[in-house]
């Protein structure tokens, strides 16, 4: 199983980025082995619009089954729902802490987007 975490940096000590679409990196990680890879979200960062959708496609194409992030807007949320990716919002701290918490089952899967605006 792979999970994706929106991150401000490229390793497990990086903070979780509260923004999904405009986060600089996604850490794609196997929570059982803690093996990970950082995926650049540069493509979304320079987009005049649609960064959330672009970022969602990036995560979906990595075959992640769960996303941990701060906030997720309605369009990206719709894409995740269609691709059967569970979204967990309100995640804080470092990537490592977030993954540990996820493994202990402390998070609840979001049933709706956490923000309305796609410009955040």
């Amino acid at each position: 199983m792979k999970i994706a975490v929106s991150a401000q940096g490229k390793d497990l000590d990086a903070n979780v980025d509260p923004r999904f679409g405009r986060a600089p990196y996604f850490i794609i990680i196997d929570p059982d082995t803690m093996e990970y890879e950082a995926v650049d979200n540069k493509q979304s960062l320079n987009m005049p619009q649609g960064a959330g959708v672009q970022a969602a496609m990036t995560v979906i194409n990595q075959n992640a089954e769960v996303l941990l992030t701060g906030n997720c807007g309605p369009k990206a949320f719709r894409a995740f729902k269609a691709a059967n990716v569970d979204v967990i919002t309100g995640v804080k701290g470092t990537v490592k802490e977030a993954v540990e918490k996820f493994k202990r089952g402390e998070y609840k899967i979001a049933s709706a987007p956490s923000v309305r605006s796609h410009w955040s």
Partner: protein, 301 residues
Amino acid sequence: MERQITELVVISGKGGTGKTSIVGAFAAIADNKILVDADVDAADLHLLLNPEVIERHDFTSGHEAVINEEKCTRCGECISLCKFDAIDEDTYQVNSLHCEGCGVCVHFCPEKAIDFPEKLCGEWFVSNTRYGQMVHAQLGIAEENSGKLVSLVRQKGRELAEEKGIDLILTDGPPGVGCPVIAAVGNASAVLVIAEPTVSGRHDLERVLELSEFFNVPAMVCVNKFDLNRRIAIEIEKFCESKNVFFVDHIPFNPEFIYAVANGQSIVERDDEDLIQLLRIMWEKITNKLEEFDKQAAEAA
């Protein structure tokens, strides 16, 4: 617990209500804040604050089509496909004012004669001012994508606040209810609407309040130049009450607003004590309300 940053975005529906002058006054009154000029189409706050630019960056957004004359065979495919009439039929040049950057011509050109470089749309700055640091921008003349630039200056303002350990951001927002305003309102802690007691001012206020409701951002309202039409000013106050929107105060018509701008000053630096006192009281009411909003938001979370 993570530190909360409060961002107050000042907007106005229509222009010319005195929004920037009022932001300038609050900039002088409030302690310890980051200033953001998100009115990127007509960024005027710098005229009051005389910023010393310490950082300057290019703002690029999207792409634009550029036809390579040497490769182009003038087959006309691009012209027939372009939905924006951006390619001149005689010169085969792309009019950058019309080009939406959709890339259809780039994809379908049989000669691969169309380049698609990133588009330079403006600049953004970090500056020192006498009231603290400010993030501001200038959109290139006739450039688009101001929504993204608004998001960018707000984001940079937030990063600066985090870096400096400052918990208040005061943002001068754009007028209107379109793309730049949507970008300015989303995820703000609250908006302050500067309304004008005119038939159009009241009409615009209703639209702006609808927008803040749509984005779930709490609003506050004050009326500037209330004595130009006391009847409408009171109607606006009552309308706010009926909508459960906090009404801050009425500000009288006062030429000091113009004299201050003409001298590159904030109103607080002039000597109309009554006006200064009124603005101080307003700021106190606003900060109290902001705390209340923060508490409500924390409880809701």
